[in-house]
């Protein structure tokens, strides 16, 4: 009996450590592409228009809907503006500056289940923590490893044990873990191409997120369009992407452009970042949605949908958005939120599929 238990444990251990990576790069056609009845559609489109006499949003960086409140980070104004769902302004969190509770180039924020708001300051490499009603609680300085001294944080996730998952604008590290004091713990995902110092580099182009129903993290490169699923232990589980002709063509063109720039010697470090994809969002079922920012003239923008396993399901378009481009997409429990290139915010409901 004991032997059996040991064998089972050994099998599970080996399974966990030696499970092969699943690679689904350049998936040609979505498995549900022809099955139109199963494609997502949206309805009840509603513009989210705050009173411009009170608030004008300049640079909508991130939107989170939390307990019927809409939190909007405006990087250029260094504030999080809070509204009710009717777009009525309630209050703001943070202000520009360098003191405790001040925000300096805030690039991302995260709301934990406990109701704390963690704002990552790109320039100061620190996290400001606020309560939901905007009271400043504490400041956490991130102690970046020496070898990535030049990096600036670009994304933050916080897990229930108060570990911070951080991505950077340019770094040989793609995702690092820090403890609640801001001390570096370990790296869980590395960049493939080396960073050249001094010189021109392609930025990390990272977005990171949690799935709702698993412990996996999802890294997305909005230049290459490649998703990487990685466990919190640092094991790469899946790598996937879709093959799109327009994207493929642009990728080659831009790689050539950057290679030419690299020949010119520079004294500093420069990160050139091309956004070819929007950010992604994950719905309650862990399906993944992402827009291609490239479109042929007179064609509609494509929304790509992947299953939680990284299988390319289908692409679709949204007729509501005719002459505008969606730059950002956010999923909340009930709504999808789109941000257009004109900084318009539109809420919509998803009509589910059969």
């Amino acid at each position: 009996m004991k032997k059996k238990k040991i064998i089972i444990c050994l099998f599970l251990f080996l399974n966990f450590h030696f499970l092969p990576q699943i690679i689904k790069i350049n998936q040609e056609e979505g498995v549900l592409q022809r099955d139109r009845e199963n494609h997502i559609t949206f309805y009840k489109f509603k513009k989210f228009q705050p009173d411009i006499h009170k608030i004008v949003l300049w640079d909508i960086t991130k939107i989170i809907v939390h307990i019927n409140k809409v939190f909007i980070l405006d990087q250029r104004q260094s504030r999080i503006f809070v509204f009710d769902k009717g777009a009525n302004y309630l209050y703001s969190i943070g202000r520009p500056g360098q003191g405790p509770g001040d925000l300096e180039y805030p690039i991302d924020f995260f709301i934990s289940k406990e109701g704390n708001i963690y704002v990552i300051n790109s320039m100061g490499k620190r996290i400001e923590v606020f309560s939901l009603n905007g009271n400043f609680q504490k400041r956490i300085k991130l102690n970046l490893p020496k070898e990535i001294f030049y990096s600036r944080p670009s994304c933050i996730l916080v897990d229930p044990k108060q570990y911070f998952f951080i991505a950077y604008n340019l770094s040989s590290h793609l995702i690092d873990i820090y403890d609640f004091r801001g001390n570096y713990i370990k790296n869980i995902l590395q960049r493939e191409n080396p960073v050249i110092i001094p010189g021109e580099n392609i930025g990390n182009s990272s977005q990171i997120g949690f799935f709702h129903n698993s412990n996996t993290l999802l890294h997305f490169n909005y230049f290459s369009g490649i998703f990487t699923m990685v466990s919190r232990m640092g094991k790469i589980e899946k790598i996937f992407s879709v093959s799109d002709k327009l994207h493929k063509k642009e990728l080659q063109k831009l790689k050539k452009f950057i290679a030419e720039k690299r020949k010119i010697k520079k004294s500093g470090i420069r990160a050139l970042t091309f956004r070819l994809w929007s950010n992604y969002c994950i719905d309650a079922d862990d399906n993944i949605y992402v827009f291609l920012l490239l479109t042929k003239k007179s064609k509609k923008q494509k929304l790509f949908v992947f299953s939680p396993e990284g299988t390319f399901l289908y692409w679709t378009t949204i007729p509501y958005f005719k002459n505008t481009r969606i730059n950002k997409i956010f999923c909340s429990e009930d709504d999808f939120i789109f941000v257009t290139s004109e900084q318009e915010i539109i809420f919509a409901k998803k009509r589910r599929i059969k």
Partner: protein, 73 residues
């Protein structure tokens, strides 16, 4: 002699203040982006535009620069 003492105390305070100011300038990574920095990002290739740019300085020296491009609509 008394006057000299006062002057030396004053000088020490001034030097101390200058030292603290200099140290804080060195320690804090500051944004040293001027509007001209924009033009130090490579000119966008055809059908792209420069959407964001930012720079980091430490001790008054430029350490890194970010240039973010979006495709034109």
């Amino acid at each position: 002699m008394k006057m000299n003492k006062k002057v030396s105390i004053f000088l020490i305070i001034v030097l101390l203040a200058l030292f603290i100011f200099g140290l804080s300038y060195l320690v804090y990574a500051k944004d040293c982006c001027s509007p001209e920095e924009k033009y130090r990002c490579p000119k966008a290739p055809d059908e792209y535009y420069l959407a964001q740019y930012s720079c980091t300085c430490a001790g008054g020296e430029l350490t890194s620069r970010d240039c973010v491009y979006y495709p034109e609509i």
